[in-house]
């Protein structure tokens, strides 16, 4: 179900307007607050919810990952490089916090310098493979990579 805006929290900064991939978050010209102009075109990507500096945007979620009436709220902290989610069931008995990193290096310091990369040769251009494909999926770096060859083990359940 689509996003909606808490009018007392919104200050009309326009971050959601900028980030919405469907271009459906607009600033209301009467109240100067953001609102979803086309709720049925919203596919709940949560971009605006995460970008809002006041946590003024919320979503009434479907029952696909928690029973109806739940609350899923998020706080994205760029400076700490963390994103925190809180999922709370309608009766309040299930109340989970989740935390994950969104970057491991300061923002803007690890942008790949694609301009400096070697341009593809004619052979590469004629090949069915995409640019840098064998190298980037590491098929030409030793043998086929598996969990075992990389010293990893498959863990049960969701790793948290």
């Amino acid at each position: 179900m689509p996003t909606f805006v808490y009018m007392t929290r919104c200050d009309g900064c326009g971050n959601c307007v900028d980030i919405c991939p469907s271009d459906i978050m607009h600033i209301d010209t009467v109240t100067r607050r953001a609102y979803n102009i086309e709720p049925n075109m919203c596919w709940e990507c949560y971009s605006c919810v995460k970008a809002c500096p006041h946590q003024a945007i919320d979503v009434r979620g479907y029952a696909d990952f928690a029973p109806l009436g739940h609350s899923v709220r998020v706080k994205r902290d760029e400076e700490k490089g963390l994103i925190a989610w809180r999922i709370k069931f309608r009766n309040g008995k299930k109340d989970i916090d989740l935390l994950a990193p969104i970057t491991t290096k300061p923002w803007g310091t690890a942008i790949p310098q694609l301009r400096d990369a070697e341009p593809p040769s004619q052979v590469q251009r004629d090949s069915q493979l995409l640019f840098n494909e064998p190298k980037y999926i590491r098929f030409d770096d030793g043998d086929l990579h598996t969990l075992e060859s990389n010293g990893l083990k498959l863990k049960e359940g969701v790793y948290y």
Partner: protein
């Protein structure tokens, strides 16, 4: 710039009428705000929401703590408009807000305490009246000609009025502008022009205070209430269902969320600003 425009006005209009007008405006603001609350049921929603939040509270917030939070709200959200992310909007809001308060308060003092030329008003008071109106004009016109054009960004230019939303700002701007012009015209002895500007000043002020029900003047009451409630929900642990604040260098956080330490190390640096590096102005 330092004369008392109301003293000269008393030749034309008796002080009692001026005072009655001020009282009427106060009644209109209070009445408009109450009608607005009843119609939108905003107060009902606000208290129901606060009650719901309290039911899910993880700890009790004491009265002393609540007083502390109220003081914090006044110091940050009310006095310094801290909730604005956009620095220009914040400065413009401060100019407008302080200008409005000074202008309204000094007007009331001048009308009630120094309405006739017999008792000269202190120079400081009349100076503040003019300064308040000027500050209101600076903040307001900055908003109207620069910030509003940018923030609204819905193809609204300065000459386009978008209905109810603009009653408030236009009311403020016209009241302060005509007030100042009226005072200057009076000083210059402009005769009919003075009366015309005074009429425009009174019409503007009546529109500003009489349209509270439709405009957003009432935000001075509900914004601080909402900011205070937000602080209370943070203190009692409900946080409006938002997750807690986590410190990525805290061992307790590493214990609970092992992949934070695994991917970010035990003491991750400040990552700086990501999408916030650019101001939102692409729309």
């Amino acid at each position: 710039m330092i004369h008392n425009p109301f003293a000269e006005l008393s030749m034309l209009i008796s002080p009692a009428v001026m005072q009655a007008y001020v009282v009427l405006m106060i009644i209109l603001v209070a009445g408009g705000t109450i009608l607005d609350m009843l119609h939108k049921r905003s107060a009902e929603y606000f208290f129901a929401n606060a009650k719901k939040a309290q039911a899910g509270a993880k700890r009790e917030v004491t009265s002393a703590e609540k007083i502390g939070l109220a003081v914090q709200t006044v110091a940050n959200e009310v006095l310094t408009s801290s909730e604005f992310c956009n620095v220009n909007r914040r400065i413009s809001h401060l100019f407008t807000m302080y200008g409005f308060i000074i202008f309204v308060v000094t007007s009331a003092i001048l009308i009630f305490a120094y309405p006739t030329p017999d008792v000269a008003a202190p120079v400081m008071l009349t100076f503040l009246w003019h300064l308040g109106a000027l500050s209101l004009c600076v903040g307001g016109y900055w908003f109207w000609f620069s910030i509003r054009v940018d923030v609204a960004a819905e193809g609204k230019n300065w000459y386009q009025i978008s209905g109810r939303g603009d009653i408030f700002i236009l009311g403020l701007l016209s009241t302060a502008t005509f007030g100042l012009l009226w005072s200057f015209a009076q000083q210059a002895g402009a005769g009919v022009l003075t009366n015309l500007l005074f009429a425009l000043f009174v019409i503007s002020a009546t529109v500003l205070f009489g349209t509270v029900y439709w405009s957003k003047l009432a935000h001075m009451f509900f914004k601080p209430a909402a900011a205070f409630q937000k602080k209370v929900t943070k203190a009692d642990g409900t946080r409006e269902n938002l997750p807690a604040e986590y410190d990525p260098s805290d061992p307790a956080v590493h214990e609970r969320f092992p992949d934070i330490k695994e991917y970010m190390g035990s003491n991750p640096p400040n990552m700086g600003l990501g999408i916030s590096r650019e101001a939102p102005r692409h729309y």
